[in-house]
C-alpha cells in the first residue's frame, strides 16, 4: 500500500530513473576500463614473449634444450608460463607442451591459441613460435591468468563501489518521496478544509524556496483574492437584505395596523396603497440589481451604434425638464459646437445619463442648478453632470460607485441606492471612466464620464 503510493510520487520515479542511469554509467565505465586493460596486457604479452625468444635464440642448441627442460619442471612461470622445443616436423624435443599447438604458425608473431592438455580442461595461451638457425622451433606461451585476475579485481571494485552508491541513492529517493508525499498530503488536507467551507485555511507555503512552495504561495494568493471577492459579495448580500428589510417591515406594519383597524374602508385603502408603494420599492431594488448583474456579465456590444452625445443630452433634458421645474431646479444643457458621436448602446447611454440627472436633481435644493455638458478633449469626450447640491465628501467618492452605498446625508432620500452602480456598469461596458469631483467653486458635485473616441 505504502509502496504503491510511494511509487506514484514523481520524486520516487525520478530517483528510480537516476539510479538506473547511474548503474548504466557504471557498467559502461567497467567495460571501457576492461577493454583498455586487455589491450595493454595484449601488447605487454607480445613484447615479453618476443624479448624472451630473442634472448633464448642466442644460446647454443644444447644449452637451450637444457634451459627449456629445466623450465618445464620449474615452478616460477610468472612471466613465461609455457616453453617448448620442436623439430622442423613439429615433433616435441623437450618442454612442457606435449604436442604442437593446433593452428600455430612459426612466424615469430604472437597468437591466441586454445591448448588441449592430455588431462584437464582446455585453456587459452598467447603463443609465439620462433624458428631457430639449427632448424628447431622455439615455442613460448604466456597465460591470460593475470588478465583474468585483473578483470575479477575490477569487477569486485565496481561492485563494491556501485552497490552502496545505488542503495544510498534509492534510500535518499524514498526519503525525499516520503517528504514530498507528506507535503502533498498536507496540501490535500488544507484543500479539503477549504472545500469544506473554511475559506481562511491556506496551503503550507513555507518561505517559498522551492517550486512546490512557490506553487502553494500562488494558490494562497489566489485564495486571498477569492476570499476578498466573497467578502465583498457577502457584504453586498447583507446590504441587499438590509435595504429590502426596511420597506418590507413597513409593509408588514401597515398591513398589521390595517388588520387591527377593524375594517374601516378608508384606513384599509390607505394601508394597502402604502404597502404597494413599499413593495414597489423592493421590486425596484431587485430589478436594478438584476440589471447591473446583466450589464456586468454580458460584454455584449451587438446593440452598439453611432450615438450623438448632443442628441442624447437633449433627449434626457427634454424628459427631465418638467420635473426639474417642479422641484425648483434649473436644468441646463451645454452641447458642443461640433457634434460628437461615439459608438455605444443608445438605450444604455440614456439610462446612464437619466440616472445621473435624476440623482443630481434629487440632491439639489430648490433654486439650484443641474448642468449637462459635453466637453471634447484630445482623443476623448467628457459627458458631465454638475449640480449645486449637497456634494459628496472626497473620501466617499469612490464608495458611491459601489453597490448600495448611500451617504449618510442622503439616507432620507428614497431610491434604490443603485443608480451610480448602474452608471458605473454602463460606463464600464463602454470602456468609459467615471470620476467624481466637487462642482465649480467647491460646491455641489460633478460627475465626469470620459469616453475614448476611436478615430478611424
Amino acid at each position: 500500500m505504502f509502496l504503491t503510493e510511494l511509487f506514484r510520487t514523481a520524486t520516487f520515479r525520478l530517483t528510480l530513473m537516476a539510479v538506473a542511469a547511474m548503474a548504466g554509467v557504471m557498467v559502461m565505465q567497467f567495460t571501457l576500463v576492461y577493454t583498455q586493460m586487455e589491450a595493454v596486457e595484449s601488447r605487454r604479452s607480445t613484447a615479453l614473449l618476443r624479448g624472451e625468444a630473442r634472448l633464448l635464440a642466442q644460446m647454443t642448441p644444447e644449452h637451450l634444450e637444457y634451459v627449456i627442460r629445466k623450465r618445464a619442471t620449474d615452478d616460477l612461470r610468472l612471466v613465461i608460463s609455457s616453453a617448448g622445443l620442436f623439430d622442423a616436423s613439429h615433433a616435441v624435443i623437450t618442454g612442457d607442451l606435449h604436442s604442437w599447438p593446433k593452428g600455430l604458425v612459426a612466424d615469430g608473431k604472437s597468437h591466441n591459441i586454445e591448448i588441449y592438455p592430455e588431462e584437464g580442461a582446455p585453456y587459452p595461451l598467447r603463443l609465439l613460435a620462433e624458428p631457430l638457425p639449427d632448424g628447431t622451433i622455439l615455442v613460448l606461451g604466456r597465460s591470460f591468468h593475470l588478465l583474468g585476475e585483473q578483470k575479477l579485481m575490477l569487477r569486485h571494485a565496481t561492485l563494491v563501489a556501485a552497490v552502496p552508491t545505488l542503495l544510498f541513492a534509492l534510500l535518499l529517493g524514498i526519503v525525499l518521496s516520503r517528504r514530498a508525499l507528506f507535503r502533498v498530503k498536507e496540501m490535500h488536507e488544507a484543500i479539503d478544509l477549504i472545500m469544506a467551507g473554511d475559506i481562511h485555511e491556506r496551503l503550507p507555503a513555507g518561505k517559498e524556496r522551492d517550486d512546490v512552495e512557490r506553487l502553494a504561495g500562488s494558490v494562497n494568493r489566489m485564495l486571498d483574492r477569492l476570499e476578498r471577492l466573497m467578502d465583498g459579495m457577502r457584504e453586498v448580500g447583507n446590504d441587499i437584505a438590509h435595504d429590502l428589510r426596511t420597506p418590507l417591515s413597513r409593509v408588514r406594519a401597515k398591513l398589521e395596523r390595517a388588520l387591527a383597524s377593524g375594517g374601516e374602508r378608508e384606513a384599509l385603502e390607505a394601508a394597502v396603497g402604502g404597502a404597494v408603494d413599499n413593495l414597489d420599492q423592493c421590486l425596484g431594488i431587485i430589478t436594478a440589481l438584476l440589471r447591473i448583474a446583466e450589464l456586468e456579465s454580458s460584454r455584449r456590444r451587438a446593440g452598439f451604434e453611432t450615438v450623438s452625445l448632443n442628441d442624447l443630452g437633449a433627449d434626457v433634458v427634454d424628459l427631465y425638464e418638467p420635473i426639474a421645474e417642479t422641484e425648483g431646479v434649473t436644468l441646463v444643457m451645454q452641447p458642443t459646437a461640433m457634434p460628437v458621436c461615439l459608438n455605444g448602446d443608445r438605450h444604455l447611454l440614456i439610462e446612464l445619463l437619466v440616472n445621473l440627472v435624476d440623482n443630481a436633481i434629487k440632491f439639489t435644493p430648490e433654486g439650484g442648478q443641474v448642468t449637462v455638458s459635453i466637453t471634447p478633449l484630445d482623443s476623448s469626450v467628457c459627458l458631465s453632470v454638475t449640480d449645486t447640491g449637497i456634494g459628496i465628501a472626497p473620501e466617499e467618492r469612490g464608495a458611491v460607485l459601489s453597490r448600495f452605498y448611500r451617504s449618510d446625508k442622503s439616507r432620507h432620500v428614497p431610491g434604490s441606492g443603485l443608480g451610480l452602480s448602474l452608471v458605473a456598469a454602463i460606463a464600464d461596458l463602454h470602456d468609459a471612466t467615471v470620476a467624481i469631483e466637487a462642482g465649480p467653486g467647491g460646491r455641489g458635485t460633478r460627475v465626469n464620464i470620459t469616453f475614448v473616441l476611436q478615430h478611424p
Binding site: 425596484g284 446583466e294 424628459l319 439610462e351
Partner: protein, 247 residues
C-alpha cells in the same frame, strides 16, 4: 409647488374604478397556477371571456382554433416553449395580438419575444392593472391611418402644422407635450399606464422615478383643461391616465 396643488386638484377627478369593459376573448397560456388564477379573475371581472391553458401544446391547439381576440403567453412553459407557440401561430397566418409575459427582463429576451411575433412584452412581476391596460390596448390597437388630422371630442390636432385646438381655443404646446397628446388622442377612452407611455412616447424602459410621467401629464393637462372646462385627461388611481371623450 404650484404643480403639486395642480396634481392634488386633479386627484379629485380620479375615477375609483376604470371605465367599463370592452369585452373579447382572451387566451391565457400560463403554467403558474397562482398567477393564472389572478389573471383569469381580474380579466373576468373586467368582462373578458378567458380561456386558460397550462401547457404550450394545449395552448397552441387552442390558439390555432383562432377564437381568441388577444393572447397572453408566458415565455417559459412546460413542453413547448412560449416563443415557439407564438412562432407557430404566426406561421399559420394567425394575426391575433400577443402579449408576452416573462420573468426574464434582459433586453435580449424582450427583443427575442417581440421578434418571435409578440406585440407587447411584460416583465414579471407586474401590476394587474398594467396587464389589463395592455390587453385592452392590444384589443384596440390604434388605426394605422395616414390621416393628418385627429379629432377626439372637443380636441382637434393638425399633425402637419403641429397645431392643436380645443373647440375654438388654440393650445400652445411644446414638442414633447404635442407628442404626448398625440399618443393620448390616438387612444381615446383607453387606460394608459405610465410604463406604456414611457415605452411608447419616449422609448425608455428603465426610468428611476415613476412620477416623471405624472409631471409631464400635469403640464399637458394644465394647457388642455383650462379652468372651468370639463377635464379631459383623467388619472386612474394606481394605474395611469385616460383621455375622456365627453358625451
Amino acid at each position: 409647488m404650484t404643480e403639486e396643488t395642480e396634481l392634488n386638484r386633479q386627484a379629485e377627478f380620479e375615477d375609483p374604478v376604470p371605465p367599463g369593459p370592452s369585452g373579447g376573448v382572451v387566451l391565457l397560456i400560463e403554467d403558474d397556477s397562482a398567477i393564472a388564477e389572478e389573471i383569469v379573475g381580474e380579466l373576468m371581472a373586467r368582462g373578458f371571456d378567458v380561456r386558460h391553458e397550462e401547457t404550450g401544446d394545449a395552448g397552441l391547439t387552442a390558439a390555432l382554433l383562432g377564437e381568441a381576440h388577444v393572447m397572453v403567453v408566458d415565455r417559459l412553459l412546460p413542453g413547448m416553449d412560449g416563443l415557439t407557440v407564438i412562432e407557430t401561430v404566426r406561421q399559420r397566418g394567425i394575426r391575433t395580438p400577443v402579449l408576452v409575459l416573462s420573468a426574464l427582463s434582459a433586453v435580449d429576451d424582450r427583443v427575442r419575444g417581440l421578434k418571435a411575433g409578440g406585440d407587447d412584452y411584460l416583465t414579471k412581476p407586474f401590476a394587474m392593472e398594467e396587464l389589463v391596460a395592455r390587453v385592452e390596448a392590444l384589443l384596440r390597437r390604434p388605426d394605422d391611418t395616414r390621416s393628418t388630422k385627429l379629432r377626439v371630442g372637443p380636441l382637434s390636432m393638425d399633425l402637419i402644422e403641429r397645431r392643436v385646438w380645443r373647440d375654438g381655443r388654440e393650445i400652445e404646446l411644446l414638442p414633447r407635450e404635442f407628442r404626448l397628446l398625440e399618443y393620448l388622442m390616438r387612444r381615446p377612452e383607453q387606460v394608459l399606464t405610465r410604463s406604456m407611455m414611457l415605452e411608447d412616447v419616449w422609448q425608455y424602459r428603465f426610468i428611476p422615478r415613476t412620477n416623471l410621467v405624472d409631471v409631464h401629464i400635469g403640464k399637458l393637462r394644465r394647457k388642455v383643461d383650462a379652468p372651468g372646462e370639463e377635464p379631459l385627461i383623467r388619472s386612474i388611481r394606481g394605474t395611469g391616465f385616460l383621455l375622456r371623450v365627453p358625451d
